[in-house]
Symmetry: C2
Subunit: 229 residues, 2 copies
DNA sequence: AATTTTACCTAACGATCGTTCGTTATAATA
DNA sequence: TATTATAACGAACGATCGTTAGGTAAAATT
């Protein structure tokens, strides 16, 4: 409020010397409502809206106009921040990878035991996916096939993250002939698949993650003798 | 060939009485190349092309014109067979569910043991998904959220198939406190996720399915003592 | 032989798509 | 104080979108 009056009193405005202050304020308000805003960067809002729409309706199902409307901005303004729809999509995807990376890194501060480390990572992964949301949904759901230029860049971002689980699983004490690559791919699909059926209120993301890890590690349950081949 | 000449000799064609037979044949050929074909139903071809495109680029990423071009038909012709893009998509999805159902039903003719039955189903599922292809890819990849009318119909088709695994897993001798719902969801995500990383030549679909089932059942491997918590 | 049905076609509708253009008010800098 | 950079805007471009209308020749039916 003070800032608004200040900016009038400095008056680089071409009307200021001709019209009374009351009218100037009116003009300010109109201008504020319609057009140019004072020094405000909507890049973050645009990125958020893009993440939302892309997560909900996919790349092709989301139009530039959808995103712009959601962010309260004109369609053409997106091109001030991003060169193209592809670049915007990549920015969202990359941010999603970083959010995953951060979440998992934070979760693994301590604990040396391999299965515990995997469990912590899984919990962090699922919490990021289901609670934080849109950016991560994109990374979890879209497995780029690598046939377009955009896809190839997406794969590179995704690989950075998958490497984390590669290392986590490398340290796991598994039965000798276990296929660790298949384990990783299967495990990640299982975790990411949760986004497809999770409905708020049923079970907490952390709980789901823990139980999922248990599914993969249950050979040591004390009462495992009920099972048979 | 004989049929072609026959159709000329019956001559309900308005040129037939005016021009010689040679020229009539020429017209036939031209008409064959450009326009109206004799009694040929392209519905199957359209459905195949739709499955292909939808599997490859998704619903929004596929245009009616893409499908028509791939099927060698005019865009408007799709509306002779299907009322709308939505209905075409649903037809593909439904067919995908039926293909899955058939494949799994065929695979389970004998074998009483629960784990073996699940393994057979998994093998059939993955072979259908990775070898047969497009129709199944659609069902595997798209988990409808149920917010549109189309989505709600899709869910109903999908549920018919998931019920099969519900029953398969019900009979499994699992440790007492195992969450069978989570097992099913996780297991199906793991299987369907294979479509995201499978590249021809690495491992056969059947082998992947078998090993995936092993991952979920490995608690009875004889040398499982290497594992620790 | 005349009529109807089938299996398409050509042409076009208005809406929406990603993107570009030129403009403009504010803030930072010289 | 004049200039430049920033953060947008409104209007429009041609392309493409799902869909419809109306036509046409062959086949089936009457």
């Amino acid at each position: 409020m003070v800032g608004l009056l200040d900016s009038i009193s400095l008056t680089s405005d071409r009307f200021a010397s001709v019209i009374p202050l009351e009218l100037a304020v009116t003009f300010m308000v109109i201008r504020k409502a319609i057009g140019a805003r004072p020094r405000e960067n909507r890049r973050g809002a645009v990125l958020d809206s893009a993440a939302r729409s892309f997560a909900l309706h996919g790349y092709a199902g989301t139009s530039i106009r959808d995103i712009a409307a959601d962010a309260g901005v004109q369609p053409s303004s997106l091109y001030y921040f991003f060169k193209s729809k592809d670049e915007l999509y990549e920015a969202v995807y990359e941010r999603g990878v970083e959010k995953f990376l951060d979440a998992v890194a934070r979760s693994m501060s301590k604990s040396d035991q391999p299965w515990d480390r995997l469990e912590r990572a899984a919990v962090a992964h699922l919490e990021a996916l289901l609670e934080d949301g849109d950016y991560n949904t994109l990374v979890a759901n879209i497995v780029p096939r690598g046939d377009s230029e955009l896809d190839q860049r997406l794969v590179r971002h995704r690989d950075r993250y998958e490497a984390v689980f590669f290392n986590l699983i490398k340290d796991l004490p598994l039965p000798p002939r276990t296929d660790r690559k298949l384990f990783r791919l299967t495990f990640l699909s299982a975790l990411n698949g949760v986004a497809g059926w999770y409905r708020d209120g049923s079970m907490s993301p952390g709980k789901i993650a823990t139980k999922t890890v248990d599914l993969f590690r249950k050979q040591l349950e004390p009462d495992g003798e009920r099972t048979a081949r």
